[in-house]
Symmetry: D3
Subunit: 117 residues, 6 copies
């Protein structure tokens, strides 16, 4: 993983730990649920990560996009598959998603290049 | 197809024809593009329709949800697969998507029951 | 409760039952979580229902607004309190929420009048 | 004006009157402000109504779209101008706005046909 | 107040002054209205700031979240109260708000720690 | 153009080139379409850029706002015209757009000052 992505993951984990160190039961349950929703089932984990990626793009959340790109790469998503998922997100969400798509390509290139090395 | 869904499709087609009867080139091109984004490629048409469905749920557009449920059923999406896609959309989008999910279950039941008959 | 609100509640319950009759664990857990988040705690149930109401208005979901208006009325929210919550939602969310506010006033009047009778 | 549009306007006015019959000063001020923002100034009222229309389409609010279509027609917006504004909204907002665009064409046709008669 | 929050406030004030130095009456009026909506009334200023906070989280605006966290702390909102408001926002808005929640916890910790010192 | 804006444009172009270097036909077509939607037609390019600007503000995308401010300035949009477009966006979109408006004023001042020099 590149330095940018390693830092992203470290900050993400530390911030999640802070949230889960609190006493609020509903928040803790939500986080558990969030993990379960992407596990293998009738749909594969790969398909679910692609669903999470496209949802994150049309809702325009950079951190969520970065997270799901990392997860998709772990599930073996290829460049051509990423681009087709981006295309669906772009057509559904319109040009307002383009700035997020620019950053998504950067993240995808980093993740896939790091995997190759 | 049930009467509700047949009416939905007929109205949708008539309204699209009205739009495409105009002279605006950008709108016509967008509609063509919209069709192409869901064709088989590196990702299957089935996966792309699921991506369109989840994007439609988190963006909370009932007509878009109905359309992609019909398309998903045509691609052989099963009840369990629909429900897992709904679960990803619900977790990403939150309780604000629940009213749309209620209607999505209705549409799914109609489409799948109609296919069985 | 008025006929409109009674029908809203009946349809809502039936649709929730349909969703919960399925096998998807993540969806069932989400629904339980959704109930817990509004229970009395450090903040009162009344305050939490007002939070849910304002969130529903700025996200522009009519069914969610109707639901939280009913819940707020049960918690004793008065007309003046409703209107101040509406004002915060209107200022944060802008004129795009006005059509939802028009329907919210209708629902509020129905709920509060029904309570008086 | 057609019957559909006349009913829309009557309901809109009655609901606004209900809102303004209340005691909340912030809400009343917002409504006044909302009117002023579209008056002739450095930009013409026509341009401002087109801005309101495109904002309403990308935010996907049918009532707001209907209202601004009526106002645009009063300012002399032509079919070709409407379609170019629709095209900008479609490209910015993506296919998720298409169901609203279908209804927008209906409203535009009603308004412009009513004006011709 | 910590350095981060002091800088946030200074930049916010300077930028607001720039906006209000212009000639546009509608913008000036909106800013006045924005202040009034959170004043004590039928609902307390504390409750209204919580409403503003939850609205800001579900609409996913970091600057708005930081601002309302500062205001909430001034009104005496405790950690447990913040977390319950966060929980409502998380359940309504879904996992897409989590990145904003991570930053919200940081801001809350800064504000509450600064108050203790 | 100022250094900030020159860097914005350079990064934007480089990122677009990366996207267009890929093999995805739908994405390439979308980008072409995006350019065409703002060309002179029944509505002037100036009016269309204002439409794009207001759409970008209410959808709260900083990069899109910066881009359309640059384009508007090229079409001769004046300070007073910018402010009236901002006012429409603020009234439609509510206080949640204010942080984006603060940055929009910065960008507008940079662009218009750079043009004067």
């Amino acid at each position: 993983m590149t330095k940018i992505l390693a830092e992203f993951q470290a900050e993400r984990l530390a911030a999640n730990e802070r949230i889960l160190s609190g006493d609020n039961r509903a928040i803790k349950r939500f986080f558990r649920l969030d993990g379960e929703a992407y596990e293998d089932g009738a749909l594969s984990a790969k398909t679910k990560e692609l669903l999470g990626l496209v949802a994150s793009i049309v809702l325009r959340c950079d951190d969520c996009i970065t997270y799901h790109i990392i997860q998709c790469a772990r599930q073996g998503v290829t460049v051509a598959e990423f681009e087709e998922a981006f295309a669906v997100a772009l057509v559904v969400g319109g040009s307002i998603v383009i700035p997020h798509l620019r950053r998504a390509y950067d993240r995808m290139d980093e993740v896939l290049n790091a995997n190759e090395e």
